[in-house]
Amino acid sequence: MDFNDTTQEAEFRKEVADWLSANAELKDGSKDSLPAMSEEDALVRAKEWQEKLYEGGWACLHWPQEYGGRGSTPIERVIWGQEVSKFKVPGGFFEIGQGMAGPVLMMYANEEQKKRFLPPMAKGEEIWCQLFSEPGAGSDLAGLKTKSVLDGDTWTINGQKIWTSGAHYSDYGILVTRSDPTVAKHKGLTYFFLDMKSPGVEVRPIKQISGGANFNEVYFTDVKIPDSQRLGEIGDGWKVALTTLMNERLAVGDASGPDFEEAFNLACGHDLNGTSAIKDGSVRDKLADWYCQQSGLKYTKYRNISALSRGETPGPQASITKIVSGNKLQEIANFGMDLMDANGIVRQDDPEYGMYQMGFFGAAGIRIAGGTDEILRNIISEQVLGLPQDMRADKGIPFNEIPTSNK
């Protein structure tokens, strides 16, 4: 039992570190990051960095080289992630494309399409979004209603999607629709990709409880998609969507925000009931819980990396990470604001205090995004522990006869 690289891994790590040192700036501390800026400016900065990665051969490590990737092993991808986290580099725009849309295109698109779309995706020239959830279909995604009708070799799309991250700056999207409402729920779905500039696509930002607007509603009014942009067979859209969602779980990682270290430092420098908060028994009790959770996640990740290093498939621990870190963030956010006493309700500009207020809202979102806590518990119990699926009231019923909120 050790934390050391194999010789091969150590060589790769050195290659990564050398390239990063020559091309990016080291962080001063673990939470040090690039200065905040407008989304437009951040996008420009991210595209420049992605192009640099692409030219250097470091874009999309897990993709085959012919499509602009590096053809790396999973453990090499982990090593890259560890090393790149030490540097101040932009991100946040390409993950949905490279992590979810790209792998689906590789499986279902024709060769010409792969050659046309994958390299620009890897280079960061074109950004992709994912059009799955609808107002009436969230956790029960297969209940989606956006209608697709085929006429000749052209499909016409009508309906509404929601929670679409980055739709407002995306060039292309992956889309699941209902092509046949007369068959059972999971059977009548068909999957496409489309140009987000197509006539009839309207993107409206959604204002979040934090005040920001990272995601959108997307309306489709008689939007035309050529049949050549269908991914998978007609009626096979659910199967294609599952491939995408498996990649989503891997894409959504730790909740970002204050963690044990921040809470510990805050308690050390803050008074409570006339003495240092770190001396307070209830504070120590909570800190110990968060330390154990953080440590448990850290070493679970190490166990996964060890499995990858041996060439094994890691367990479904990504689900655990999101449940534990989201709830931990929500508790730590409340703890931080509580230590500020009455002033905890007043907006704090100093990030040392403001991060708890950001986390207060962020945690509420992370517990829902990419699979709610409840859906993740279903996944753990069904896919890891082999417990039976819940009984469904809609099983085997034609989709257009299933009771909904509106009837």
Binding site: M1, D2, G281, L287, L297, T300, S381, D390
Partner: protein, 367 residues
């Protein structure tokens, strides 16, 4: 990165598991719980024959000279099977104390017999309802005599000798006391987990000091044992999760297995999360213990707290998942519920270990 037990260690774990199943360890735990015996002698003999008591004792003292990772996987299986023996007291505490702090003569006198299972040791530390501190220890060593009272000593009425904490002048220290002499008044105590025996001592006895030991040595001994206790707790927690899962799959209500209800599925998913976090933290503890890492006190407290939490969660929710049957004497749920409490109390409470964890992080922060 290789943050996993080796294939040899996993093989040992598998052998230990099969051996303990073959020995019907769980049934023997119930027999001890219901009967008069303080432990299961036949199981203890088999464990000695397997060489488990000799695991970390060096070959020069007739041990196997294996490492702590081997002992960790054995501990997990003993915990899973609720083995009703004095293994933890004798191996994680008494053997460790002598290995770590004994003189050459003391090692020669005790270790070969401990390895061969000819003698059993225990650890006597608690004195009252309050956790022991460097300031409140009242057992006193003076002129070769140890005087005072110790309580809630696991295996105190089974052991041949005890490692006892005491003050020597102003300095806390560790002593060895022969329990076979008439100078120790040993009283068996009634506990919540009669599958493990406990006693209290009234001491007015000859004793020898483990030279050079201090309050820090006592903490070091507890830290090292905490990792091994955590593995027992981990094994017990996982056993409860498996029991709950199996029962929920087979028990039907409202025309379907109760394992198909989200209320039950999510309960079992939460057990799984607690067990996985505890397992990862236990591995961290095992790594620190086996490499004498400077982070040992942090790693030990982390594994201890995390494994105690997992066992608590799993043993109580296992009863809940069983419904009324879980509350019956006949089902085994209560054996785990009791053992969970026994292990949680054994080397200090959850609040004490949480405080130790934060204290060790404060120290690390100051360096």
């Amino acid at each position: 990165m290789n943050f996993e037990f080796s294939s040899d260690q996993m093989l040992l774990k598998d052998q230990a598991r099969k051996f303990l199943e073959g020995e019907e360890s769980l049934k023997k735990a119930r027999d001890v719980l219901e009967g008069e015996a303080s432990f299961d002698e036949s199981l203890w003999k088999s464990i000695i024959e397997m060489g488990f008591t000799a695991t970390t004792i060096p070959e020069e003292y007739d041990g196997l000279g294996l490492g702590y990772l081997e002992l960790c996987v054995i501990a997990e299986e003993l915990g899973r099977s609720l083995a009703p023996t004095p293994f933890s007291s004798s191996v994680y505490l008494a053997t460790e104390a002598i290995l770590r702090f004994g003189s050459d003569d003391q090692k020669k006198a005790y270790l070969p017999k401990l390895a061969a299972g000819e003698i059993i040791g225990c650890f006597a530390h608690s004195e009252s309802n309050t956790s022991p501190t460097a300031e409140n220890l009242s057992c006193a060593f003076d002129g070769g005599k140890l005087v005072g009272k110790k309580i809630a000593i696991s295996d105190g009425d089974i052991a041949d000798f005890a490692i006892v904490s005491a003050v020597n002048g102003d300095t806390p220290t560790l002593c060895i006391v022969d329990l076979k002499s008439d100078e120790v008044d040993i009283n068996t105590e009634t506990t919540l987990d009669p599958s493990r025996s406990h006693a209290n001592f009234n001491l007015n006895s000859s004793a020898e000091v483990l030279e050079g030991t201090t309050w820090e040595s006592i903490q070091e001994l507890l830290d090292r044992a905490a990792v091994l206790f955590a593995f027992e707790q981990l094994g017990g927690a996982e056993a409860c999760m498996d029991m709950a899962r199996e029962y929920a799959m087979g028990r039907f209500a409202f025309g379907r297995p109760i394992a198909s209800f989200q209320a039950i599925k999510h309960k079992i998913a939460d057990m799984y999360i607690a067990v996985e976090l505890a397992r990862s933290n236990c591995y961290y503890g095992a790594w620190a213990l086996s490499t004498d890492a400077p982070e040992l006190s942090t790693a030990a407290a982390t594994s201890r707290v995390s494994a105690s939490q997992a066992y608590n969660e799993c043993s109580k929710e296992n009863i809940q998942a069983h419904g009324g049957m879980g509350f019956t004497w006949e089902f085994d749920c209560h054996l785990y519920y009791r053992r969970c409490r026994q292990l949680a109390a054994n080397i200090g409470s959850q609040s004490v270990w949480k405080d130790k964890l934060i204290s060790s992080l404060e120290r690390a922060n100051q360096i």
